[in-house]
Subunit: 160 residues, 2 copies
């Protein structure tokens, strides 16, 4: 397994995402990797990521699927172009739509594994299916429609 | 407008949700209210809730829609039964599925308004549509299928 995660290849100025940005100190810093034709990320929720005591809140499950989806989209897009991740120009994806089905309550206190699979790559659009499991049981399934970052979404500061 | 939010009526032992629990000190503490036939919540993201600098990360948008959806489901369910919120037995909902369409980048630094509308109430299931706007522009639309909390999802501690 490549020691660098997909997110480690994102350009610095696009690497502040709360869910997966390497440079967001308060963030979750999700790390996604290839595992054959699938992608995988492991994340252990913090003790306060509660839905009701003992279970993980759904917004976190959705966030993990979302960021793993856009990471998978970027990695798959490089791969489909026969390019190494990190080569120029960068391929960075954002979410057009996110769908999550919660199959069972997600237990808190164990690592969550999210696995992604590319369903479709077409131009600037990549569709990724994802499933999230805890202790070997699938807790959620989802789909992310990711699109390459639009030009009008360049980093912005308050003064710009 | 009732000064108490929907979430303020959740029973204490079910009021630790990271997204909307009154008793989760690290959480977002979303507060939802009736506004006629619609429901509304206002939330201002924290400075680190970044997708890329200047914009709100999608996982937070999804989380707000999710918690506003389950809150709306609870409030609508009490209303459909002709009951005041907070009366026994409590009606507390969890998410069966969540769908979010991101319409445009959500700017960081302004309050976000999420509005909910009940599409369907049937038995233990409530379907809520939601739209999230910033500075008057719709940034995301979503749908939450909420179901009354199943019996097997009672609060759980590590020792139980």
């Amino acid at each position: 397994m490549d020691q660098k995660a997909f997110q480690d290849y994102y350009p610095d100025e696009l690497n502040y995402c709360y869910g997966c940005g390497r440079l967001n100190e308060q963030g979750l810093r999700l790390k996604s990797y290839w595992d054959g034709e699938e992608t995988v990320a492991i994340f252990t929720p913090r003790p306060y990521h509660i839905a009701i005591p003992g279970y993980v809140y759904g917004g976190l499950v959705a966030s993990i699927i979302d960021c793993h989806g856009t990471g998978t989209a970027a990695a798959a897009s490089y791969r489909s172009q026969g390019r190494e991740m990190g080569t120029e120009p960068p391929l960075r994806f954002v979410t057009a739509s996110l769908h999550v089905e919660f199959k069972r309550p997600t237990p808190l206190g164990v690592p969550l594994e999210v696995r992604g699979k590319v369903k479709e790559i077409k131009g600037r659009k990549v569709v990724v299916s994802a499933r999230l499991s805890a202790a070997g049981e699938i807790c959620a399934e989802g789909e992310v429609v990711a699109v390459q970052m639009p030009e009008n979404m360049k980093p912005r500061t308050r003064s710009s």
